[in-house]
Symmetry: C2
Subunit: 119 residues, 2 copies
């Protein structure tokens, strides 16, 4: 889990633009390649870690857990662990995360339409 330089020029720039542009603010939170697809799968229903893995077979475990962590830190996803063996961990959307549904839906609609038009 390599540390990220928080005071790099890049991060400074990103934060600057987030102040003036709401779209950039959103991208800073869900801009990674996998985050929207994770949120999309969770928006249907809460899921266990292994269910997410099966739902998104293309993602590696490392990426999945890393993005889930970041989504927790951004208060978009809630992690609920039951202290049993084997572990039982459920991920669900927080209220803030649930409010992303219009965004995810608009994306899905556009994606389907664009796919159809291009064959």
């Amino acid at each position: 889990m390599t540390a990220i330089k928080e005071n790099s020029t890049r991060n400074f720039n990103k934060q600057l633009s987030a102040v003036s542009c709401p779209v950039t603010y959103v991208m800073n939170k869900i801009g990674g390649h996998w985050k929207p697809i994770i949120l999309y799968h969770l928006s249907n229903s809460p899921k266990r870690y292994s269910e997410l893995k099966r739902a998104i077979p293309e993602i590696t475990e490392k990426m999945l857990i890393q993005h889930l962590k970041q989504l927790q830190e951004d208060d978009l996803v809630l992690r609920t662990a039951e202290p049993v063996v084997p572990p039982f961990v459920t991920y669900s959307l927080t209220p803030a995360g649930a409010k992303l549904q219009p965004v995810l839906n608009a994306m899905a609609i556009w994606g389907l339409d664009d796919m159809r038009q291009r064959g």
Copy 2:
């Protein structure tokens, strides 16, 4: 302009998931950090290269021109150049790009709301 390996494992995975998930399809097209903000600025009105640069002061010229190129390849942005000196180049949204407005608007609304709630 370093070439990108189109047949890397990563790209293969991305394309796989795009087939089954419309949200991932969208991310493959506008998933970069700067693409949505560029599209957002163009959605208000067509803009010259230098206008975009002023509108998004945080982006480097390299990134701006690179993403504009990719957006052209994905048929989301149209480049219109008049053969004068100094050059006069205008960027605008294609019909497919214009259809992204609901997505960009949904993002902006969520971003503003989330910013407000967190102070």
